[in-house]
């Protein structure tokens, strides 16, 4: 696309920088819109799912039916709240921390393909890049917890550090298992290898099926959602690292959490559940491929992108369901889950996938 616009402006080389700037801004705005709209939807969905699990109705009146205006109303409320900074806080770090968290949660979308070729920056090590950048989210949490000058915040931040650093190991092992089976670190190639009907998905492989559930456990822990929400355990340490945050600064942490959840679910969908290739290959059945011209191909890709985003939403809904169903774990239970169950299981699945791939490719 960039090349097309550059050709259009071939006679005016002085304006080429503007093309790059505009395209960059449009791409960033599109992904920001995806993330922010999703956060609004998830805020409403979380309330609805919680209500359904607890046999309530949830929001019903805001905006008429189903409480669909709940998220804008929440946003307005947060904007109007007083912005407090504790007296003994480290002002600079206290202000910076939420932005660091959000940037770390949002930047990986840069390398996330939504359909073949629909990616801001194609990287041949996309999975690795995403894991590396998404892991920086705890940095904002630790800074926020320290800078608040509050014991609760510091406790929450330390718990988060221990938990996330611990769970990065099995999470990485799960991703390595898929990478091993696919033979590439490129998310686009991993998804394209699962093209066709749902029995081409990685989930069908028995070892990768188990790996998927380990991945989802670690993703839940990595984005500190219940039952792994010890960093903000409200019954023990007020609100953990977010205790001293109010108003819009708090909501940036909130956005970072939901953005990271969506990111991890989208990556799970690409790694295990075919990415943009649906359970039924609708696009190729309808003839929406490059054989019928660029418009049909574009429609096919748009359908695939919707498919992927739907799977990401399903993953987030699964995490919400877990949150409102399971009780919070103790600190020692969180660590036991990671070190005694997730890591050995992930290692076993890695070995199993090695053997499976080896035998499938002809063995000796």
């Amino acid at each position: 696309m960039t090349a097309y616009f550059i050709n259009l402006l071939a006679g005016y080389p002085a304006w080429h920088w503007l093309v790059y700037l505009t395209i960059g801004l449009v791409q960033a705005a599109l992904f920001l819109a995806l993330a922010m709209l999703s956060v609004a939807v998830f805020n409403w969905l979380e309330r609805k799912v919680a209500a359904r699990v607890q046999d309530r109705l949830g929001p019903t009146r805001v905006g008429g039916r189903f409480g669909w205006l709940q998220s804008p109303a929440d946003g307005l409320k947060l904007l109007c709240k007083e912005d407090l900074i504790p007296a003994g806080a480290d002002h600079m770090l206290f202000r910076l921390a939420p932005y660091i968290s959000f940037c770390a949660a949002f930047t990986p979308y840069l390398a996330l393909p939504l359909a073949p070729g629909w990616v801001v920056q194609p990287l041949d090590t996309a999975v690795f890049f995403i894991l590396a950048v998404a892991g920086l989210e705890i940095f904002g949490v630790i800074l926020g917890g320290y800078a608040s000058n509050s014991k609760w915040s510091l406790y929450g931040a330390m718990r988060e550090a221990a938990q996330v650093v611990g769970y990065e190991i099995p999470l990485g092992l799960c991703v390595v298992t898929v990478v091993l089976a696919a033979g590439t670190l490129d998310l686009e190639q991993i998804a394209e290898a699962q093209r066709g009907w749902f029995w081409h998905w990685n989930l069908v492989n028995p070892f990768l099926f188990v790996t998927f559930w380990i991945y989802m456990t670690c993703a839940t822990a990595g984005s500190n959602r219940a039952p792994f929400d010890l960093p903000e355990a409200e019954s023990e340490i007020v609100a953990g690292f977010m205790t001293e945050y109010s108003g819009f600064r708090w909501s940036i942490f909130f956005m970072a959490e939901y953005t990271a959840m969506l990111l991890l679910s989208l990556v799970a969908a690409i790694l295990f559940a075919g990415g943009w290739n649906g359970p039924v290959p609708v696009a190729s059945l309808l003839g929406l491929t490059d054989k019928n011209g660029p418009l049909a191909e574009w429609c096919g890709h748009a359908l695939g992108a919707c498919n992927l985003i739907f799977k990401g939403y399903l993953g987030v809904t699964f995490m919400m369901w877990l949150r409102w169903t399971l009780p919070r774990l103790r600190v020692d239970q969180v660590m036991a889950t990671c070190l005694k169950y997730c890591v050995p299981l992930a290692c076993a699945m890695l070995a199993g996938t090695m053997a499976w791939t080896f035998l499938l490719r002809g063995g000796f």
Binding site: P13, A14, W15, H16, W17, Y20, D90, M92, L93, L96, L123, D124, T125, F128, F129, L131, A132, V133, G135, L136, I138, F139, I142, L143, Y146, A147, L154, A157, M158, A161, A162, Q163, V165, G166, I169, L185, R330, V331, D332, M335, A336, L339
Partner: protein, 217 residues
């Protein structure tokens, strides 16, 4: 006015951030702020790697160095949050020593920069050409670790083929097993001592042991 302009803009932006925050690490007094500046500086260097097309190296920089500094930050907060070390002062002797070391490293680097020359220099253009011919380097890196070396395209004819190299796999494995031994040893030293239970047995979860384990991560 094409993509090279943006390349320069981002290069100077990242380089400025890296240098500025590196200076701030030296000048700041608070341990946590130091760690924050250090992480920013390392992340800016990762950005420079991405800009140069070395995506794997950039992601590795984020994963290893920035992640490692993060653990350092956690330890720094745990050990010095409100203690006497939360603001550090550097003595005069240390300043002199550090300036000497840093200055000599800078001199060596500057010499290399002068040799390579600016963006128009001969060596720089050769390097740029080499960068273009072998941009996806990840697979080559992985194969190189296993001992399978692919010849750089430009040098394939210039030199005779080297004997098959053993690769770095054995070295890599020895280092990682060594690190594992160090970790197990640290966990052994730091664990809560097991005492013979008294008559009155109170069952409680082994909290201390598991917490020690987590800090070693």
């Amino acid at each position: 006015m094409d993509i090279t302009l943006w390349h320069n803009v981002f290069f100077f932006l990242m380089a400025g951030v890296a240098c500025g925050t590196a200076l701030a690490v030296v000048l700041a007094g608070n341990v946590v702020r130091m760690a924050f500046y250090l992480i920013t500086s390392l992340a800016a260097v990762a950005g420079l790697f991405f800009l140069a097309g070395a995506q794997f190296l950039g992601a590795m920089q984020l994963m290893v160095y920035v992640g490692g500094t993060l653990v350092l930050l956690a330890f720094g907060v745990m050990l010095t949050a409100r203690g006497p070390l939360s603001s550090m002062r550097t003595g005069g002797g240390q300043w002199v020593l550090a300036a000497l070391l840093g200055g000599s490293l800078l001199a060596v680097l500057l010499q290399t920069v002068v040799q390579v020359g600016g963006p128009g220099g001969e060596a720089a253009s050769t390097l740029a050409a080499a960068e273009e011919t072998q941009s996806p380097t990840t697979a080559q890196l992985g194969l190189g670790l296993l001992g399978v070396r692919s010849q750089p395209p430009g040098q394939a004819l210039a030199r005779p083929a080297p004997p098959p190299a053993p690769g770095y796999l054995l070295v890599f494995e020895i280092i990682s097993v060594h690190l594992l031994v160090v970790l197990v040893g640290a966990a052994y030293l730091a664990r809560a001592k097991w005492r013979r239970p008294e008559r009155l047995v109170i069952h409680h979860p082994p909290l201390a042991a598991s917490q020690q384990l987590t800090t070693d991560n």
